[in-house]
């Protein structure tokens, strides 16, 4: 996983609540068996009309946000389906950070596994970042995971929280399967105490 320490980039305001993963990556693009190449389908039904042409009114299509790498949205971002393809699409498109007042649990977990930072800020802060990113051309934020701070160099500064273990994994780009396997002895001991039941074994026999 790509480590995350500090990132500065252009902010694009989505200005929507309850953005679900069906919007982030519509189902017709879930049939691929690779992890890559989802970026071009990000927010597909909002970015493109039925005939595949770019829509005029969706904010990601505005040239001034073409290089955006920080997305800011309202509450409950990433709700709905567990599809990790949503995170792959955001990351593949070039996003490193999503800022929102709250995130759906599975989306937040999936982000963590892919080095996409989810930053929770208060309603007023999100509203202010949204306002500034609309008003100021090329508006940028710096997100520092070591100090847990968001700053725009224009007087806006905010702290955010993240549990220490998740932060540690993100900062170091850790493979958490490797971490779990460090507990091999405990897993084996648990399995010895809780064997696969007789009936479950019958599944293989058909």
């Amino acid at each position: 996983m790509q480590p995350f320490r500090k990132h500065t980039g252009v902010v694009v305001p989505l200005d929507k609540v309850n953005v679900d993963t069906d919007q982030i990556i519509p189902k017709q693009f879930l049939k691929r068996i690779e992890r890559t190449g989802f970026g071009e389908f990000l927010f597909y039904d909002w970015r493109f009309s039925g005939d595949g042409k770019k829509t005029g009114d969706f904010i990601l299509n505005a040239p001034r946000y073409a290089k955006a790498s920080i997305l800011v949205a309202g509450k409950n971002f990433g709700c709905g389906s567990s599809r990790e393809h949503a995170v792959w699409a955001l990351a593949d498109y070039g996003f490193r950070v999503v800022i929102a007042t709250s995130f759906a649990d599975i989306f937040a977990n999936n982000s963590l596994k892919n080095g996409l930072l989810t930053v929770r800020l208060g309603e007023e802060q999100v509203a202010e970042i949204t306002r500034r990113s609309k008003e100021i051309e090329g508006y940028q934020l710096t997100i520092d995971l070591e100090t847990l701070r968001v700053e725009d160099g224009r007087g806006l500064a905010a702290a955010f929280a993240m549990d220490e273990f998740s932060r540690h994994c993100l900062l170091n780009g850790l493979d958490d399967i490797g971490l779990t396997l460090q507990h091999e002895a405990e897993i084996a001991a648990y399995e010895a105490k809780h064997p696969v039941r007789g009936a479950m074994k019958a599944i293989l026999a058909g």
């Binding site: 649990d105 599975i106 599944i203």
Partner: protein, 475 residues
């Protein structure tokens, strides 16, 4: 493992959690053992690839069960899959299951079905388990008093490799439902009523336990419907303590324990109720008798009103963001504020999905459809949740009732719930659907989804518009 000793009162969730903690390293998430890992074709190929890249194996193939459901056609099984990319994904699952020794209920299997339908129906899902699947509606299995939750593909790989998952302990919420549901008001309406009240993020960060007289009175099918929709309120999982209804459902199923194993299992399962005095982080009280059949009007399951109500006025939303979301939702749905729900005509009806495709759902819909005919302007389809349900329904003659009434009777799968297969809405088409999500484009780009119960869906198919099932003249 916390099964003995002098402990403070614990909730059902805490008991299942405690029994599965493998390790609790200082400063890290607890490592939870996973009893059962359900796998399907859409969220697993990248996970198996990850195993290959890192030279890992599936640690417990016997605790892993796979099926194909999300993208398969619901046309007769003998036909080839027209969608080459979907076919490739199904082939990838077949290949992966073979390579890693994972049991697969394939396309042509008599046990194939929606992953959340076949687990319980085969007796693979049992009380007190930890169950995960790369699908958010894994919460369905909580109906058995299991801790069951959806995970992403990286976590699928993690469980394949280690049979464990590091997890932050969620908060607990009890939804206490007293009283009795009125005739025509179902578990689906209960779920929609709860989400309408607490919102689609009302339970984010929580595990819900459903309790109270109204929950005890529910069948297992109804409990699965209720727990299935927990994720639509943002919950990590939704559980119901196992009881006689649960044991009766599980007893004798193909992979359920037998003989002495069964007696021991039931004795343990009886201990899984929340202790008197156990503390929840949040408690919500619901009066079942006050609920009506519900219909969603917007683009998330929290945008819902009773069938005899009207599409809300925009000024009724206190928060500016919610008002704007409602305005956008109504524009997408092609509805005006103040429209009576019963005046909304439908083009399509879908009866199916992991929420409402079980035998009891089909019986309820068939009861409405019996002796009637689908409105000529409506195309209606019934998609059983599994091959076993399809066979059972055919034995009972339900398929005859549906076919005679003009419904399509199809093969099992997820179908139009998410429209990954050819079963989709055309732009602008309006659908009464027994599924779980009315998101923009969920059932097809530009499609307009209204979530309802199976009875309400069948009634809409016949009337051509939403209608209050409580006034239905059954034939």
């Amino acid at each position: 493992m916390g099964e003995t000793g002098n402990m403070s009162p614990r909730t059902l969730f805490e008991k299942v959690w405690d029994a599965h903690v493998v390790a609790a390293p200082e400063g890290q998430s607890a490592l939870l053992y996973i009893d059962l890992h359900l796998v399907h074709e859409v969220t697993s190929p990248q996970a198996f690839d990850g195993l290959r890249v890192s030279g890992r194996t599936v640690r417990q193939p016997l605790r892993t069960v796979a099926t194909v459901d999300h993208n398969i056609p619901t046309t007769p099984r003998g036909l080839p899959i027209a969608d080459a990319i979907a076919a490739k994904q199904i082939e990838a699952l077949q290949k992966n299951c073979q390579e890693f020794g994972v049991p697969l209920f394939d396309m042509d299997s008599a046990e194939q079905g929606i992953v959340h339908v076949i687990g319980p129906e085969l007796g693979i899902t049992l009380p007190g388990m930890t169950i995960v699947c790369g699908d958010s509606h894994t919460s369905t299995h909580g109906a058995f008093g299991s801790l069951a939750f959806g995970i992403g593909t990286s976590e699928v790989e993690h469980v394949l490799a280690t049979q464990c998952l590091p997890q932050k302990k969620p908060k607990t919420m009890q939804i206490h439902i007293s009283g009795k549901l009125a005739e025509g008001v179902t578990a689906k309406d209960l779920a929609l009523g709860i989400i309408g009240r607490i919102g689609t993020d009302g339970a984010t960060g929580y595990v819900i336990e459903y309790a109270g007289d109204a929950v005890r009175a529910l069948s297992m099918e109804a409990r699965m419907t209720l727990c299935n929709m927990s994720i639509e309120a943002g919950a990590r999982a939704g559980l119901i303590a196992p009881d006689e209804t649960t044991f009766e459902y599980v007893r004798g199923r193909r992979f359920a324990p037998e003989g002495k194993d069964w007696e021991e299992a039931v004795a343990y399962w009886r201990t899984l109720a929340s202790d008197p005095g156990a503390r929840f982080d949040r408690v919500i009280e619901i009066d079942a008798a006050a609920l009506a059949p519900f219909v969603t009007w917007g683009t998330n399951p929290g945008m819902v009103v009773a069938v005899n109500a009207r599409v809300p006025e925009l000024k009724s939303f206190a928060q500016e963001a919610d008002r704007r979301a409602a305005e956008q939702a109504l524009a997408y749905m092609g509805l005006d504020p103040g429209t009576p729900i019963e005046a909304i005509a439908v083009d399509r009806v879908f009866i199916g999905s992991c929420t409402n495709s079980r035998i009891e759902d089909l019986r309820a819909a068939a009861r409405v459809a019996k002796g009637q005919h689908v409105n000529p302007k409506v195309r209606a389809m019934v998609v059983p949740g599994s091959q076993a349900i399809k066979r059972a329904a055919e034995q009972e003659g339900l398929h005859r009732i549906f076919l005679d009434a003009g419904f399509e009777w199809r093969e099992s799968g997820c179908s139009m719930c998410l429209g990954m297969n050819p079963d989709i809405l055309q732009p602008g088409e309006r659908c009464a659907s027994t599924s779980n999500r009315n998101f923009e484009g969920r059932q097809g780009r530009g499609g307009r989804t209204h979530l309802v119960s199976p009875m309400m869906a069948a009634a809409a198919a016949i009337a051509g518009h939403f209608t209050d099932i409580r006034d239905w003249r059954f034939q």
